[in-house]
């Protein structure tokens, strides 16, 4: 009997469409695995068995009625708890939203539903997506399936770990400064952050509105392309959603890299980077040349400012976005004698330390007298970061770099050192600031037990096809870069 949990989304949907497996059997198999092993991982905040089985049965009924099942027929999907799900508690990993049950679905949720995906549950995350290790969740930690003493990355750590541990073939994450790519890298799975504006943010609980973007985790590039083609496309409910068509992403796959020019930015191989990681990434890049790509060194001179820019822009936006959690309409309320005290006590009790830190940073950056020096200047430098990419993309079709300077670090290792934690995203922030599509694909391992390393491929705005093409070619050429975690059955 086939192990349904080891199949890809493409394979599972085919089985459902051909009738070789029912959506219910697939859902049950994945739920059984998740229930069996997730106490050791902590990927899911909530498994929604009943909802999953209802959705699976609906897909089976649809097929029985002779209607063609959708592109993700019966594919189990984990959803980052930052996505608004009608009737399903959505906490964003925060105490302040404990018990909050949305009355509407995010656009991404609607589109997955319309494609006949089956929702298995909501995955763990750093509170309001603020963090790089998922240790900032108010509810639980998530362990790296390759080494349970290590972090899975973050903020979408639950989604990454769930896919790596084969609890689901697909999980949806969000990426503001690397929150899909960095955990994908640490968990040895594929994670795509589409172009800003490619996927609707309607129903994505905002962290930093000018940066947030939704994308998939998967175990293959083909699955990433499939899911992205389901969730992408213009949405009139999101004014920042791009009013343009989505090209055929699957058509970009299965090709070599002949005729492609790929840039390697010198600023991404710097001192302080783990030499083993650099070695694995360099070897992976060399493989791209073997596949027909022309490599060249390029320079993105403002890379070193990306971290500072990001922590001003993202925190400023967050300080405003998180103002709505005031205890008035939903979520936590700590009663008090006066209105101001109610606000203060509610927010003091409801937010964790990292969220408070960022609200304070952002509030400061926007304050009268400081705005120009901080937020205003950050926006100017953000333009310079974008210009760097514009210039390089005049010369090359894609840029490749490490996803993260290190492999997954140990649980607790950086919780008391926010700056060290922030450095985990140093290679993913520039593409976020420029709104570019970027993917992380597994490209090798370091150390013992072996920890996965990710290769990051960045493309021009809205050029997901080239990003996926490079990732897919590499994946097929380097099968050894992908393995299942050894510690799990």
């Amino acid at each position: 009997m086939i192990d349904l949990c080891s199949l890809t989304a493409v394979e599972l949907a085919d089985l459902v469409r051909s009738g070789e497996a029912s959506a219910r059997a697939i859902a049950e198999a994945h739920l059984a695995r998740a229930h069996a092993i997730d106490d050791r991982i902590g990927a899911f905040l909530r498994l929604t068995d009943q909802k999953a089985l209802e959705m699976a049965d609906a897909v089976d009924c649809k097929r029985a009625r002779g209607e063609p099942p959708g592109a993700l027929a019966g594919v189990p999907v984990g959803l980052k708890d930052l996505l608004s799900t009608k009737g399903l508690e959505t906490t964003c990993g925060s105490r302040i939203l404990e018990g909050y049950v949305p009355r509407y679905d995010a656009t991404v949720i609607e589109r997955l539903r319309a494609a006949d995906a089956v929702f298995l549950g909501k995955t763990n995350m750093d509170e309001f997506a603020m963090g790089s290790s998922t240790e900032n969740s108010a509810y639980q930690i998530t362990r790296n399936p390759f080494d349970p003493t290590r972090i899975p990355g973050g903020s979408s750590g639950g989604s990454a770990a769930a896919v790596a541990a084969r609890m689901v073939p697909i999980a949806i994450g969000t990426d503001t400064g690397g929150s899909i790519r960095q955990p994908a890298s640490h968990c040895g799975v594929t994670g795509l952050k589409p172009t800003y504006g490619r996927v609707s943010r309607w129903g994505l609980v905002a962290f930093a509105s000018s940066l947030d973007q939704i994308g998939p985790f998967s175990r293959t590039v083909r699955d990433a392309a499939l899911v992205t083609s389901v969730i992408a496309g213009h949405d009139p409910r999101d004014s920042t959603s791009a009013p343009r068509g989505v090209p055929d992403l699957l058509a970009a796959l299965g090709r070599d890299l002949g005729g492609l020019k790929i840039g390697v930015p010198r600023e991404y191989f710097v001192e302080g980077m783990d030499p083993d990681v650099a070695h694995v990434v360099r070897a992976a890049i060399a493989r791209l040349a073997e596949l027909g790509a022309a490599l060249c060194e390029v320079s993105l001179p403002h890379t070193e400012y990306a971290l500072a820019v990001y922590y001003l822009v993202a925190t400023a936006e967050a300080s405003s976005n998180l103002s709505r959690y005031d205890g008035v309409r939903y979520g936590l309320r700590v009663p008090a004698a006066s209105l101001d005290q109610m606000y203060a006590r509610t927010r003091a009790a409801g937010f964790g330390p990292e969220v408070k830190r960022r609200i304070m940073l952002g509030t400061y950056a926007l304050s009268a007298g400081y705005y120009d020096a901080y937020y205003g200047k950050a926006q100017k430098v953000r333009t310079l970061v974008c210009r760097d990419f514009d210039e390089v993309f005049g010369e090359v079709d894609a840029i490749v770099a490490p996803t993260s300077p290190t492999a997954a670090f140990r649980l607790g290792e950086r919780v008391d050192d926010p700056l060290q934690m922030y450095l985990a995203d140093v290679f993913t922030l520039p593409a976020s600031l420029a709104g570019l599509p970027a993917i992380s694909v597994p490209c090798g391992f370091v150390g013992a037990p072996a920890l996965p390393i990710g290769l990051q491929i960045m493309g021009r705005q809205f050029d997901e096809p080239t990003v996926l093409r490079v990732a897919d070619a590499f994946e097929r050429a380097a099968p050894g870069a992908r393995r299942s975690p050894e510690v799990l059955p």
């Binding site: 964003c92 939203l97 129903g203 400023a316 103002s323 709505r324 209105l339 304050s367 705005y371 937020y375």
Partner: protein, 485 residues
């Protein structure tokens, strides 16, 4: 006026928040209708639910551009929405989406008519923003409630320059602004329901001093009367503070209607820092020249132009012109009646205007921008023509109007059915006059003895005898000759 007030000159600038009369809210599809049950016109966007995003209402931008053009502003081709951050229970997102650095409309002016002549009042900016919800404090309850029906309703905030120098000027400015917004169809001018709200920035300075004094901001002035009273109070208060050698505190003050005074609400020194920044959820608002041109071309006649036309082309008094042009539907009705009146328009203007101002405006049902009059404009024109032709007297005409209104029929039909045609038959009227004179010898003697005021007495008696249908002109002439006056 106290002596202290005479030594100080007031400097006043008004900020007006006017609702733009769109059917749906500024950033979502919820209805803007007033008076619905609490929290029945709400959705994830205007409730500030996690993950909800704003989408700009194009009609609101169009209306706001109409405002900008009517106020002579420069309309910015690219403007931005910004977030104004502060905590309040009626503000669901913890920020208001407004405009800050790049407002839609800037640098305009309107003219107000004062006794001393016209005066130009600058408009600093007119930008678009969303309204907040409404806090409700049920009496006897320890808890407060919030109604979010108003949350997200589109407003235009019109910031006037500090060009006003008296409460009277401020009231005139406010009236003119209201008339303009109503004329261009974007606002119903309803102060009570809060669709047209006003805050006043008031300061005083010693006469002759160039620099402005410290200002206070007056809130909660929701009628024209209160605007005058609140400003007058504040000018007197600030003048006496300065006269006493003290300094005016920069603060926000609330008008208390019952006590007829302003009192401090919060001090500006501890005022909040709103931390404005461009809203990343909304791209810049780009409007092209063709869009602005189209709005300009569709712009109706503004009240000032209409008043001028009424005076110059129709010979109305400035007072009558101002009353008629104060509400666009009243002016429309007047003009429609005059058009029906036909050829000799200039001749009919004054009597038709009198009908509208003295009678029809008083009985009209005016609800916001809508006005329903007792009779159609064509019937009013017909009524005046019946008077002109001498068919009925003015006195009878008033009764005919009432009946025509009540029955919904044309005045001519009422006149015919009731046989109200004026008696111009000299013989019949003369007979009536002789009867009256014969019946009142004492009065006749007194009249002839010099009590000329008794003439009216005889007219009244004759009119009564002719059941009001005697042609007054004929009655006058006959009585004069018969009484030998």
């Amino acid at each position: 006026m106290s002596a202290a007030t005479d030594r100080y000159e007031p400097v006043i600038g008004l900020e007006v928040h006017a609702q733009l009369l769109t059917a749906s809210k500024l950033f979502c599809g919820c209805s803007t209708a007033f008076g619905a049950p609490p929290n029945s016109h709400v959705c994830p966007v205007c409730l500030g639910l996690p993950g909800a995003l704003p989408v700009l209402n194009r009609r609101a931008v169009e209306y706001a551009i109409r405002v900008g053009l009517a106020l002579g502003c420069e309309v910015r081709r690219s403007s931005r929405f910004a977030r104004k951050n502060y905590f309040y229970p009626d503000l669901p997102k913890g920020y208001q989406i407004s405009q800050y650095e790049l407002p839609l409309n800037e640098s305009g002016a309107i003219e107000i008519e004062m006794e001393a002549g016209p005066k130009r009042i600058g408009i600093v900016r007119a930008h678009v923003e969303e309204d907040a919800g409404k806090n409700v404090h049920p009496t006897g309850s320890p808890t407060s409630l919030v109604d979010f029906n108003r949350s997200g309703v589109p407003l235009v905030e019109i910031v006037g320059a500090p060009d006003l120098r008296s409460a009277a000027e401020a009231a005139e400015y406010l009236k003119e602004l209201r008339a303009i917004l109503m004329a261009i169809g974007v606002n119903d001018g309803n102060l009570e329901e809060g669709s047209f709200r006003c805050d006043a920035n008031v300061s005083v300075r010693p006469v002759g001093q160039a620099e402005f004094g410290t200002r206070t901001e007056l809130k909660n002035i929701n009628s024209f009367k209160f605007v005058r009273q609140a400003i007058d109070f504040e000018v007197r208060r600030q003048s006496s503070v300065l006269e006493a050698g003290e300094a005016v505190r920069q603060e926000t003050r609330l008008w208390n209607d019952a006590r007829g005074e302003t009192f401090p609400m919060r001090s500006k020194e501890e005022a909040e820092d709103y931390r404005y920044f461009p809203d990343p959820d909304l791209p810049p608002v780009e409007v092209d020249a063709a869009f602005i041109d189209r709005i300009q071309n569709e712009m109706p006649e503004l009240p000032s132009a209409r008043r001028r036309r009424f005076v110059k082309a129709l010979g109305l008094s400035t007072y009558d012109a101002a009353v008629l042009a104060s509400h666009p539907r009243v002016a429309d009705y007047f003009e429609a009646a005059l058009a029906e009146y036909g050829a000799a328009r200039a001749q009919g203007a004054k009597p038709v205007a009198n009908w509208v101002i003295n009678t029809l405006m008083k009985t009209a049902r005016i609800d916001g921008l809508e006005a329903i009059f007792a009779v159609p404009a064509a019937h009013l024109a017909q009524l005046q023509k019946l008077v002109d032709e001498g068919t009925i007297s003015l006195t009878v005409a008033r009764k005919v109007l009432d009946e025509a209104a009540e029955r919904g029929v044309a005045p001519a039909q009422v006149v015919e059915e009731k046989g109200l045609c004026q008696v111009s038959d000299v013989a019949a009227i003369e007979a009536a006059c002789r009867d009256v004179i014969a019946a009142h010898p004492a009065e006749v003697e007194a009249f002839r003895g010099g009590r000329e005021k008794l003439f009216g007495f005889f007219v009244g008696k004759v009119m009564k005898a002719t059941k009001g249908q005697g042609n007054p002109k004929v009655v006058n002439e006959l009585l004069h000759s018969l009484l030998g006056a």
